[in-house]
């Protein structure tokens, strides 16, 4: 039954993004930046984990999850390795996602063409 929660929370987060678009007229790059920052903040104040506990994909799939894992990585890195961990931790934790986005973008850019509307 947790799928209902995933749907409701995920949908709600996305709806917040849409509200930002409608009421403040900002572009998608700014929305992504805003939500990444929200994710970093949630993690920094240790509230991401309890939300993630029952929201699962509802909070991990939105870009908030990406921001949270960046912050989580940096925090864990700082704890285990000290200063260098604060540098490396964030990207280490999210390297998979960034690399995947780059690799697939490259492959599909070679295969497909952008279509006119």
């Amino acid at each position: 039954m947790y799928y209902l929660w995933v749907f409701l929370i995920g949908g709600f987060v996305c709806m917040l993004g849409q509200m930002l678009i409608i009421y403040t007229n900002i572009t998608s790059a700014r929305i992504l930046v805003t939500f990444v920052l929200i994710g970093v903040a949630l993690q920094a104040f240790n509230v991401f984990a309890p939300i993630s506990e029952f929201a699962k994909a509802g909070i991990n799939v939105p870009i908030i999850g990406f921001g949270a894992s960046l912050a989580k990585g940096a925090m864990a890195g700082a704890q285990s390795k000290g200063l260098i961990g604060a540098f490396t931790g964030g990207l280490e934790a999210t390297a998979g996602g960034i690399a995947a986005a780059v690799i697939f973008a490259f492959i599909f850019a070679l295969i497909f063409k952008s279509k006119t509307k």
Binding site: Y3, C14, I21, A71, G97, L110
Partner: protein, 148 residues
């Protein structure tokens, strides 16, 4: 200044003149599509956990995101994602799939300028800020964490 006042008055007038569209339909669409994308993510995660029960939760999430990124990138390539985006707005921008779309779409768009100057250089024109803010903010958090 006279001109400044005129400009302000004109801006106010234009703002009032802009047709108001109903917000609810688009909010509902974004809710629906965003929720569905998250459910797909949850489904993928559950399947991974089902097939590889020994996998650490964090690794499973990483795979889940990679699968979603792959799907979004592919849908962008075949020209479907922007149609979803037109319908869903924030519903398809906020999930990680929107991040993938914002990397794949400029890569496709600037293909004609060559692989290095087109695809490589332009790939992060939209998503670059996301990575920069993420890295800087997480570093700051890590640094603060170091001292407390």
């Amino acid at each position: 200044m006279d001109e400044k006042k005129r400009n302000e008055a004109y801006n106010r007038y234009v703002k009032a003149k802009i047709p108001k569209t109903k917000a609810w339909p688009s909010l509902f669409n974004s809710f629906l599509v965003g929720g569905i994308i998250c459910c797909i993510g949850q489904g993928v995660n559950d399947l991974i956990m089902l097939w590889f029960p020994s996998m650490a939760e964090q690794t499973a999430w990483a795979y889940t995101l990679i699968v979603l990124i792959f799907i979004a990138s592919f849908l962008t390539g075949i020209g479907v994602y922007d149609k979803i985006g037109k319908f869903a707005g924030g519903g398809s921008i906020v999930p990680i799939t929107g991040f993938s779309n914002s990397i794949t779409s400029p890569a496709l768009e600037f293909k004609h300028e060559g692989i290095i100057y087109g695809i490589f250089v332009k790939m992060f024109t939209i998503a670059g800020p996301v990575i920069v803010t993420g890295v800087v903010a997480s570093f700051v958090v890590g640094l603060i964490y170091l001292f407390i």
